[in-house]
């Protein structure tokens, strides 16, 4: 498995994706985003409106997959083929700059303006 993380000792504190927030002084003032962008290996593959519900959309390269759901202006991963399932345990995201990453599958799901 080429995608395998060989060197997880270098992964100190990794995958703890600190979401970079564009705006917002208070948590309540976090700015809700408009689009959900799905990148595979750094390249944009899909773009959806966060305000239109999307039922079980499968992001796949033929081998690996992450299934995402958009509902009530939030997006999250419902299931994934990766061994760690960290992406699938991530809380739903809805604000600009927030992201869910699946490291083994090289998938980033992020919310933008």
């Amino acid at each position: 498995m080429k995608n395998k993380i060989k060197n997880d000792l270098i992964l100190v504190g990794v995958i703890l994706l600190l979401s970079v927030l564009s705006f917002g002084i208070f948590k309540a003032l976090l700015r809700p985003g408009n689009s959900v962008v799905v990148l595979v290996n750094g390249e944009e593959k899909h773009r959806f409106s966060i305000n239109e519900d999307l039922e079980e959309f499968i992001v796949t390269d033929g081998e690996n997959s992450n299934t995402i759901v958009i509902k009530d202006s939030e997006v999250w991963v419902v299931h994934a083929s990766c061994p760690d399932k960290i992406c699938a345990s991530h809380a739903p995201i809805k604000n600009e700059g927030e992201a869910i990453v699946c490291l083994p599958n090289k998938v980033v799901i992020t919310v933008t303006k």
């Binding site: 060989k6 000792l9 979401s19 917002g24 750094g42 061994p83 995201i93 490291l103």
Partner: protein, 346 residues
């Protein structure tokens, strides 16, 4: 006629204003890369166009690739004398300067932390690495390492056996069974060096994020500070996705957590941050976040504090006097160092 001129003037002025605002209004762009340090690297920056941003990212990528190859402990690249090569050969001559600099700095932090931070723990950490890889890839075969094997390996973790010669850039292990593991500092050190290089090239208004190792490179073009949400280590608490929000300009924010990189043995989680005393995963906290100027120090300290008692760690920070921290206890309770609050957005 006069009216016509004034109309022209107005149009001209409007045009100028538009052109000006076009210059000033830089847009925010981001790129993601998966090929460095076995994690995801995010580069965020403000530029006039995606082309300029991508050009700068290409330069940053070259640097990332260079540090990634040099600091890799599990992979060799051709005949480069990287850390994997050095581990296999118990040292090397004419090593790249970026390796010598990292090792010297690691020794310095080792002294400052009274041996709590130790890159000579490789023999112990490689055992855990091997068991964890197996446990993740083949959960049915997941096992714990034998304590006796860990104790035997721990006899070969004396950093004083690491000899570094600055004059001829050579490294020698005076213990044949010693191994280096720079996992707790390599990303932070690379981020810091790359950030300094960017500053010298005037590539500012950027944020580097090497798998959770965040370094701000100058203020945002819109004048705002960078705002970082620190994720709640309790991932089941969907109501509170963040434990804190912090604002930084040129500082670094690094979090070490037990909740992400782990494997299961009989239903119990065993994560990747190993306590040098027990030789088992440290179990005092869910996460420790460190903020300080130097990204390498932030990286090293976040792991080190994770293995120390809160009181002991807080005392260390007071002594160092250049870093702040937030601890999330296993109970979910939080502790802060005396100056952490000044970074918090509340």
């Amino acid at each position: 006629m006069k009216r016509f001129i004034s109309l022209c003037q107005i149009i001209f002025l409007l045009f100028c204003a538009l052109a000006l605002s076009g210059c000033q209004r830089q847009e925010k762009f981001s790129n993601y890369y998966f090929e460095y340090f076995d994690t995801v690297t995010t580069i965020v920056g403000f530029e006039n166009s995606k082309e300029v941003f991508d050009d700068n990212c290409a330069k940053i990528k070259e640097k990332l690739a260079e540090y990634h190859r040099a600091y890799s402990i599990y992979e060799k690249f051709g005949n480069e004398k990287n850390l994997c090569y050095i581990n296999e050969n118990g040292g090397a001559e004419q090593v790249d300067k970026i390796i010598i600099d990292l090792l010297l700095y690691s020794k310095e932090i080792n002294e400052k932390t009274e041996n709590k931070f130790n890159i000579a723990m490789g023999s112990v950490l490689s055992i855990w690495h091997q068991y964890r890889e197996t446990g993740i890839n083949e959960p049915a075969k997941a096992q714990l390492p034998e304590l006796s094997a860990l104790q035997e390996a721990a006899k070969h973790t004396d950093i004083n056996k690491l000899e570094i010669n600055k004059d001829n850039n050579s490294v020698r292990f005076n213990d044949a069974l010693m191994k280096l593991d720079v996992g707790a500092i390599a990303k932070g050190y690379a981020a810091e060096e790359i950030a300094k290089w960017m500053e010298s090239e005037n590539i500012t208004g950027y944020l580097l994020n090497l798998g959770g190792n965040v370094r701000a490179v100058g203020n945002r073009a819109d004048g705002e500070k960078w705002k970082i949400g620190i994720e709640n280590p309790d991932t089941l608490d969907k109501e509170n996705p963040y434990t804190a929000f912090v604002e930084i300009e040129e500082e670094s924010v690094v979090t070490s957590g037990s909740y992400q990189r782990y494997y299961l043995v009989d239903g119990k989680k065993y994560h990747h941050i190993i306590d040098g005393k027990t030789l088992f995963p440290a179990d005092k906290f869910l996460a420790v976040t460190v903020i300080c100027k130097d990204s390498a120090l932030a990286d090293a300290l976040s792991t080190t504090l994770f293995t120390m008692d809160y009181e002991e760690g807080a005392a260390l920070l007071e002594k160092l006097n250049n870093a702040e921290a937030m601890w999330t206890l296993v109970s979910g309770e939080q502790r802060f160092s005396s100056g952490f609050g000044k970074y918090c957005v509340k």
